[in-house]
């Protein structure tokens, strides 16, 4: 599938990107086999505006076990992704390569209706999905002046039930692992070591569909997605703390509205604030964008 998220960002200290490819998440879990490229115009808060492209090259395989209760799928995945720009110095993002494996459990039992009944969702229970996996990750900026390797385990819990109560149950990503800096001019500049560090990363968000919350008419299609991400680095050389950040909380809220236009499937607006593990500056940003895809 080709899907391109076109974003225009208005930011106090962020960037303006006209082409993003699944940029928000750290692509946990399975990967979508194939090659995807999304051209981008990049204007960082420092440095010159440049052309670039988001890319994702992935190969995955999976084995499924389909049963009425607790169906599951085992996956392995190799993937390279990131943002490459004509001026590497202007690239605010990074390049990633990972190998991952895990298993996805469906926490449900499905009981279909009888064919003589009117169509109905049937019975059983449904508590969502649990994905447990591990990955080896290499991450670097485009000039490879900052890079690391990490080994981490991750757990994702998510769900999609339409009942009201489920709107308030968060979607969760928990990740914990070891990372080791393999190159860092920043750390070199303060004489910090590249000993192993640990990173704990937790993200929770909610998908609030106004239709499920009881709204009717066109507004029912509006979705609000508030989210919080918290990370903690431990084992960091104290000398590195002057140029890096060891913990932080990032909050965001996005409103998304689907359209029936041919080339624009949704529009969205997002507000976010707070640091990220790879973006130590505390920043606030507004993003307004459209989602286009085939």
């Amino acid at each position: 599938m080709n899907r391109i998220r076109l974003t225009t960002a208005f930011s106090t200290s962020f960037l303006l990107v006209s082409g993003l490819l699944g940029a928000q998440a750290d692509s946990p879990g399975e990967c979508d086999t194939g090659v995807k490229i999304a051209p981008a115009l990049v204007r960082p808060d420092s440095g010159a505006t440049t052309l670039g492209a988001r890319f994702a090259i992935a190969r995955g395989s999976a084995r499924a076990k389909v049963t009425q209760s607790f169906a599951r799928r085992y996956y392995t995945c190799a993937e390279g992704r990131g943002l490459a720009t004509a001026r590497p110095a202007s690239n605010p993002d990074d390049l990633k390569a990972r190998m991952a494996g895990g298993v996805l459990f469906v926490l449900a039992k499905v009981v279909p209706p009888k064919p003589e009944e009117p169509p109905n969702p049937g019975g059983g229970f449904d508590y969502g999905y649990l994905s447990v996996g591990a990955q080896v990750l290499g991450e670097a900026n485009q000039r490879f002046t900052e890079s690391l390797v990490a080994f981490r385990g991750e757990l994702i819990y998510t769900h999609d039930q339409p009942e009201l109560v489920w709107q308030f149950v968060p979607h969760v990503l928990l990740a914990y692992g070891l990372s080791r800096v393999t190159a860092s001019r920043l750390r070199d500049s303060v004489g910090a070591s590249d000993d192993n560090e640990q990173l704990f990363d937790a993200t929770v968000n909610w998908g609030l569909s106004l239709g499920v919350l009881g709204a009717t008419g066109p507004v029912a299609r509006l979705t609000l997605i508030p989210g919080v991400r918290h990370f903690e680095k431990t084992g960091v050389d104290p000398r590195a703390k002057s140029v890096d950040i060891t913990s932080g909380t990032h909050t965001s809220i996005m409103a998304m509205y689907p359209t029936s236009l041919k080339w624009i499937s949704a529009v969205f607006a997002e507000w976010a604030r707070g640091p990220l593990p790879t973006q130590p500056q505390r920043r606030r940003a507004w993003l307004i964008g459209v989602v286009s895809g085939t």
């Binding site: 599938m1 899907r3 998220r5 490819l21 699944g22 928000q24 998440a25 946990p28 879990g29 399975e30 990967c31 979508d32 999976a62 084995r63 499924a64 389909v66 169906a71 799928r73 996805l104 469906v106 499905v110 009981v111 279909p112 209706p113 064919p115 169509p119 109905n120 969702p121 049937g122 999905y129 994905s131 994702i156 819990y157 998510t158 769900h159 999609d160 039930q161 339409p162 979607h171 990503l173 968000n205 998908g207 569909s209 239709g211 499920v212 009881g214 709204a215 009717t216 029912a220 299609r221 997605i225 989210g227 996005m254 998304m256 689907p258 499937s265 949704a266 989602v291 895809g293 085939t294």
Partner: protein, 573 residues
Amino acid sequence: MLINAHAHVFNLQTVLSHQAVKIIGQRVRDRGLPEFVVEAVERLLDELVARPENLDENELLARFVVRIASTNSFKSFVAANLDALPVEIRLLGDGPKKLGTAALRNVLDKLSTALGTTAAGRSSVFDIYETLRIALEADIVTVADHLLGHMGPEDGLVALMMDITAEQEPKRDRANFRAQIRGTSDAAVQRPGRIFPFIAVNSKRADHFDLMRNALEKLGFVGVKLYPSLGYQVDTEPMKQVFDYCVQNDVPIVMHCTRGGFYASQQTQSFGDPAIWEPILKARPTLRICFAHCGGEEGLESAPGTVKPKTWTAEIVKLMELYPNACMDVAYHTGMMSGGVVETNYLATIQALATNPKYQNRILFGTDAWILRLTMADDSFWQYFVAKLPAPVFQQMAGEAPRRFLGLPMADGTGIRPNMQRFVDFIASHRDAVGAEPTPWLRAAAGGTFAVLPSIPGWNLKNHAHFYTYSYALRVMTPADTHLGFPKSADLPLRRLTYWIGGPGSLGFDTRCEGNALKLAAFCKAAGAVYEGEYDDDSAVEQFANVFENGDTTLAKLAATVDAVFRFASEDI
């Protein structure tokens, strides 16, 4: 009311088996196409035998071009004709490329031109693609609509089934054939009064008689289609039982009668010889039978107004002289369209037959669509005959002659034959939910009122793949969308379902897509469905996950994918 007395509305999915692919490949080869096209068609269809898929136009186009480009014979062709070929085709010879639809169509156009196969009666690569495009529609009603689209609102067609029985693949064969019967019967209900189904009888199928009787008595079929060159003889006891039934129940037969078309082997090509019918008709002189294709158009082209002696055509004319219910049709006669003396002779002979009081109203107009598309479009065939024949002659061939053959009532409502009365009763038994306004003749014959529930091709609660897909979707549908109900949910894009929240890149999105793929597969299996072809848990979940990841996909398209991957108990009749 005009009637195309020889048409096909089955889709290829309902005949596909490895044996059918070989027979179809031979047909393409006989159309004069180079080996790489034959190979591409066979590979593409073989893949669909193994893993049925619902391909849209773009996917089919891309796959067809890629299959052509990846054959060794195409690479050899490019290497041998490097200087003469357009650059697009030379580049294609380097290996399959990812191209857009417009570019792919351009490549096919250029390839058709380069191969120089535009003469009348021959097929181009583009013709093959267009044929596949129609034939691989997801459901039979859509194929029928394709043919009805250029006809008048009251015009109809005879829908001849095809039974390329695959004895080595009994499970698939049984499911396919039943799907074809069910789909053809449903098409008659969806387009009431415009589609006249003929059940295919193939005596290689052990229960052919029971299937025929069930279709004629309970499923709205009005006649029987025979295709002996697919590998069975007609002068056998089992077939004589069929003919006796047809006489007793006033059922017409359409009999494939040309050496061309589909055939199992060189030997079986002659199984359609009309001479074989002399003793059969002698014992059953009232049998209504149409010898399709007139035995081959060459019998009409040798002299103006005269049938060529010692041809199958001459043999049919002899039978028509002896038996008042024997007819012939002009389906797939395209060779004369190149003009010249052949055309002059053909048109003069057809007119002579049609206006001869002995044969009047027994020369039927038929096109052989969609199979005709191997050579030309259906409406072009119609236009040719409308333009070349005097209006009264064409009116007789497409109006009165098929009316009589089929047993339709006359304008005053009288004269309806028993087979057509059963058809009327069958449609009337579905009067609470027909797919379109019944034609005036049917409304008059059936009486009462009909409730029209505008049908959406590929979206029908009677199809269990659709029933269970919709039922599953209700598990992840917002309350606002559940109020749409089944009919309006066909076009509901998957991004409106609750698993989509946040879309690609959002936390857990991939997990929800994969999870829904697993749950949908489990839902169908729990409903008793089994995998089609070589599908298994892995490939089925992969297929569904790909669909769930595309928010533009509609619920109807998801249902078509479920239908391709799973076979439900309801597919047995």
